[in-house]
Symmetry: C2
Subunit: 247 residues, 2 copies
DNA sequence: TTCAGATGTTGATGCAGGTTATGGCGCCGG
DNA sequence: CCGGCGCCATAACCTGCATCAACATCTGAA
């Protein structure tokens, strides 16, 4: 890896952290000088597995990934979707054994950063420790939002809520705008995230199209009525803690 | 507050942290010298509210509390139950606006610790910062476990899983043993945590009693067959990260 | 260009869990 | 001593989503 391309690689992380906090110049430079080995992965490839004890974290540079857990009888639950700038296994810095897996959902570029380098970084920059901690706290806030959706909302409301969340997260790192965003995942993936079957996801999507709420084609989601979508799902973006707030 | 009683108050926090990590003597003493104002609260009383910007954290000393969110149409979702030693709003150190509420479920004693004191503590003891961070990460791991239960398990399996989790958490801080533990909450509370109605919770509990899995009387849960209960719910205690592992 | 496997769509049917209602019991305040 | 209230229990009925199945369409590899 040439230094030049490493700076480029880590700018994804800088952009993500700046979407939820402010960085000083020194902090930005320190992040950009982290060692990071990028790799291109095929869709559906595991990055870390349930039970692993990783010695590095993965930074998504391009494409989508998700955290998931497999259960008996072939059931799968997805906990979170991850896009450029996310470090979905940041918690392995302090929780050494993985209690779930992480895999790509699309073709994806992923960079690996050794734990040692991260630990060194946050020792030298306690402000960054705080920001990384904060990032894992936002993660937890998103889990809580998902719990509300799974426990107390209908499938229709749940999907609406997820679309609002994904759109804002993508927009915050410059991957979406004008109420359109990429959604390069299958209805099966959506179902596994929502706790529904792909069949029912399909029916609800049809209904949302019929209502004129969304269009969804060629792996692109267009939100035709943000107000309706967020009203239906009682969506309140506070929990995402984005510096640039919702439309 | 006399110093002597403050030491007693904060030993709940020490015990809790020692259930998920190891403390040095200096760290233990530093925690025990935190300022903490205990208060006795009635059941069902809010400790912090959705939208608040607290300047202190609450430490549960006795009784049960929970994090929850209210939705339109009177729906409520509970995210977590909290017992002696827990600091359910630790995240307010870095996420300033509450995105949910915290209330007592029983009569409870709660101590308030100013953010400033906590920030000072973790600046002086970076090892403690790490442990607090770790505690919020365990929290997030529990959220993930709940998401799996809500998305991919039946009501029966879900309740079984929750009982396993609660028993181990209580035992880890010395509040349970011999497969018996206090469960001083109503079936309505359980339903709001599980994403079920109290009626269905009742049905499932009857069924579990009929199967001889549990007895539940006088706010006390007795697990009659730990093996069955954990097998049914595919319970794997790894995610709780307890130093003293499961039976 | 073709073909096979993955994904999306639609329909028929069943069940887990929601909804509504009612009664009993223990507790507390008047 | 009574009345009201909170919680537990049970029953009857309803519905959202799962399940199973068939087929259509897309995608990518040969």
């Amino acid at each position: 890896m040439s230094p030049a391309s490493e700076i480029h690689v880590l700018s994804a992380l800088v952009r993500k952290l700046e979407s939820i906090a402010r960085l000083s110049d020194a902090e930005r430079r320190a992040i950009e000088s982290l060692p990071a080995k990028p790799r291109l992965l095929q869709p559906g490839q595991d990055i870390v597995r349930d039970g692993d004890r990783p010695s590095q974290c993965c930074l998504i540079l391009d494409g989508w990934a998700c955290r998931y857990k497999l259960l008996g009888a072939g059931k799968r639950q997805i906990f979170s979707f991850h896009i450029a700038g996310d470090v979905p296994d940041l918690q392995t810095l302090h929780l050494h054994v993985m209690d779930h897996s992480i895999c790509t959902l699309t073709e994806a570029t992923v960079a690996f950063i050794p734990h040692d380098s991260l630990r060194d970084l946050i020792t030298r920059f306690p402000g960054l420790a705080e920001i990384f901690w904060r990032d894992t706290l936002v993660d937890a806030a998103i889990f809580r939002a998902w719990i509300v959706c799974m426990g107390r909302r209908s499938a229709y409301e749940h999907i609406a809520h997820l679309f609002c969340e994904l759109y804002l997260k993508l927009r915050a790192v410059g991957l979406a705008d004008g109420y359109r965003c990429p959604l390069p995942i299958t209805q099966i993936d959506l179902g596994d995230a929502l706790g529904l079957t792909n069949v029912h996801v399909n029916r609800v999507l049809q209904e949302m199209r019929r209502q004129g709420l969304i269009t969804l084609r060629d792996h692109t989601l267009a939100i035709e009525s943000w107000d309706e979508l967020s009203r239906i799902s009682e969506f309140d973006p506070t929990y995402l803690r984005l510096e640039k707030q919702a439309a």
